[in-house]
């Protein structure tokens, strides 16, 4: 799906025309530069590679410098490939939020906030032990049994246990577009999006 790379600015709330208080997220998206046009003849599939956010030249490898020079642009920090764009985009073109102007819903992809090493209650919404009494002690948030005993004599693969939580690619579908301010590259969507303020996001149709 066609989309843009953006940055989460933060959350606030606005009042709708009916007077309802809508929680919403402000996202700065685009303008993104087309850095490569992939075609079915050359690469085997149609896609657009676009880039967003300035990067210092001294932090750019020579190979990437050449890549950006081809597109006649400055080095960029984030790149992403989108299929589904119409073919009329050319190398070096700048894509803005105008592509969303007919849409009332968008999808947003981001990396959720990292939570560190967490137990199963937070990580997988296990219930833990519901009683603090009846012989229970110090196992209120324990996972319980990991499986049967002599058969199978092992713990099945993929058994949900404690571990690193968050910082995972997460996609939120069908967020309502509250407002698009194209002259400042801002899009306001209803609801929350993954990640912390300032983290990079992908806004898709």
């Amino acid at each position: 799906m066609p989309g843009l790379i953006g940055k989460k600015i933060g959350m606030t709330s606005v009042f709708s025309a009916e007077g309802k208080n809508i929680p919403c997220t402000v996202i700065e998206a685009g303008p993104c530069v087309v850095t490569q046009v992939k075609s079915a003849e050359k690469e085997g599939y149609d896609a657009l590679q676009i880039a967003y956010a300035e990067k210092k030249e001294k932090h750019t490898t020579s190979a990437m410098k050449g890549h950006f020079k081809n597109a006649n642009t400055t080095p960029k920090r984030k790149m992403h490939e989108f299929s589904g764009y119409k073919n009329d985009w050319k190398l070096g073109d700048s894509i803005t939020l105008d592509i969303f102007k007919d849409d009332s819903f968008v999808d947003v992809v981001g990396y959720s906030k990292g939570k560190g090493f967490q137990g199963v209650v937070k990580r997988y919404n296990f219930k833990g032990v519901n009683d603090a009494t009846h012989g229970q002690h110090n196992r209120l948030r324990a996972p319980g049994s990991l499986g049967a005993s002599s058969y199978p004599s092992r713990v099945f693969k993929g058994m949900r246990m404690a571990g690193r939580t968050g910082n995972q690619r997460t996609k939120v579908l069908n967020l309502e577009v509250v407002k698009i301010i194209s002259e400042r590259n801002l899009i306001i969507v209803k609801g929350s999006v993954p990640g912390s303020k300032g983290s990079y996001l992908i806004v898709e149709k």
């Binding site: 600015i9 933060g10 606030t12 709330s13 606005v14 009042f15 007077g19 208080n21 402000v26 700065e28 301010i181 400042r184 801002l186 306001i188």
Partner: protein, 115 residues
Amino acid sequence: MDILKEIEQEFLTENNFPDFKSGDTISVHYKIKEGNKERIQIFKGVVIQRKGSSITETFTVRKMSNNVGVERIFPINSPFIDKIEVNKFGRVRRARIYYLRELTGKKARIKEKRF
């Protein structure tokens, strides 16, 4: 952060409510929609707190209704608020007078501010 503030400013609509803070007794004239009809309900009580800033600012009003404490939180920028009247300016020492929740009867009185 600044972008957020600018956006909040854009969505903010002017209101000319009088200044009030915690300890004051106010009447909030609140528009209520019932089907197609609109009527105004008045909620009168003591302001317990004001919270948040700009478009997300809210205030809490507490009143005693049949000896039961009722608290209501209003977003100050809500388009449903028709009017706010300040009935009494109270003199309190803190910005959030939660201690009022534990008090009833004569103890729950607030001294009036003298000018």
